[in-house]
Point group: C2
Chain length 207, copies 2
DNA sequence: TTTATGTTTAACTTTTCTGTTAACGCTGCA
DNA sequence: TGCAGCGTTAACAGAAAAGTTAAACATAAA
């Protein structure tokens, strides 16, 4: 019994693990059940045994992937810190997160484009809707207090996210443009953990 | 004869037009030849008549799409303008370009992730490799002259691109986050044509 | 009018991928 | 010992997509 359960869990989790990798790499349409089975070293029928069909399997993975990105966004928004510190922390956290989940952003963005509705249902079900209200208010207060120059909070939030995420999704392009190898690009990304925050702060601070 | 040729061109171009749309929307794996044929209002066999097979059809479209993005990048790099003006112009041009080719960036990024080699061959064949050398030099000179604060040129270039492109690829996410509709988001993007440039300049200028 | 050539169509073939089923086997328990 | 139940497998069925072919069609030139 315990042996069985152990194996169950191992197989089931192994599938999820591998499927996550494959779906994130190839996207829903490009992923092959056979490929997932091969990489998990199991019979293809097992995929259907544990997860009824491709769509169900995908569903779980997408939800999961998506949920990984939201809480970190809310960290950004809700943290109880002075604005500049918050920016530094958020940027650092977010870049670190994406470091560990390389093709998560592109995966989510690509699937979302095809199927923006997935969003709404996902959001409303899990109640983890990103809520930038607090951050936006904080920005407005800092502007009013004259600590930063006037700027639409939405632009600031968008800029923050853009500067964090885009360098990951555009890696192949920029490695070519800058003519640098994998290791160097890693370093480049690493250096952005501090660079991006400073770039933003320099832009908005009143000197 | 002239009638034939006219029709040839019409059909052939119609295919290319429609296929571009479908491929950019769905990606290679998600695109269906039948779907392309339907939208072009032709028999599916015609696709094979004009473009041997799916891969060949895709190839042409990808090259084309890709080529659309490179010249504009080089405009950024090579223009003979003072740095700040260059930034303003580049940002404006690039955002305008993406405006007219909404799903081009996500398409290219997604396909490139699966197949980074497509790049190299593409680049070397067409000799239109993006070359940021001039811009990088210009940035270094401005730093030396004390007109802007010290910053790695690669970061600056990356930031520029990120701020221009990411808001387009992440549209579904941010419409939800900011709770705004299509029309308003359009306006938001529109306003970034100037906003982004000022954001960058504010960050690097010495006050 | 006939013929040659390029275009278009419908029907068919092949391949690829997903989903199902029935049988086998292991393991724990009566 | 045998049986109950889950896990596993191979083989199969079905659907969907890509690709092919042969004949019909249109048009321009002879």
């Amino acid at each position: 019994m315990s042996n069985k359960k152990e194996r169950d869990i191992t197989t089931e989790q192994k599938i999820l693990e591998v499927a996550t990798e494959v779906f994130q790499q190839k996207g829903y349409a490009g992923a092959r059940m056979q490929d997932i089975a091969d990489k998990a070293q199991i019979n293809r029928a097992m995929l259907h045994y544990y997860y009824r069909n491709k769509e169900k399997l995908f569903e779980g993975i997408f939800q999961n992937a998506f949920q990984k990105l939201i809480p970190s966004m809310n960290e950004v928004f809700d943290a109880d810190l002075p604005l500049f510190d918050k920016i530094r922390q958020v940027v650092n956290n977010y870049i670190t997160l994406v470091f560990q989940n390389r093709n998560l952003p592109l995966f989510v963005l690509h699937e979302l484009q095809q199927n923006p509705e997935k969003f709404v249902s996902n959001f409303f079900v899990h109640h983890t809707r990103p809520n930038p209200a607090k951050l936006i208010q904080q920005i407005q207060e800092e502007i009013k207090a004259g600590n930063i120059r006037p700027i639409m909070p939405q632009h600031l939030v968008m800029n923050m996210m853009s500067l964090c995420i885009f360098p990951f999704v555009s890696q192949p392009v920029f490695q070519q443009v800058f003519q640098i190898g994998d290791a160097q690009y890693e370093q480049f990304l690493e250096s952005r953990k501090t660079e991006v925050a400073e770039f933003i702060i320099e832009s908005i601070k009143v000197k």
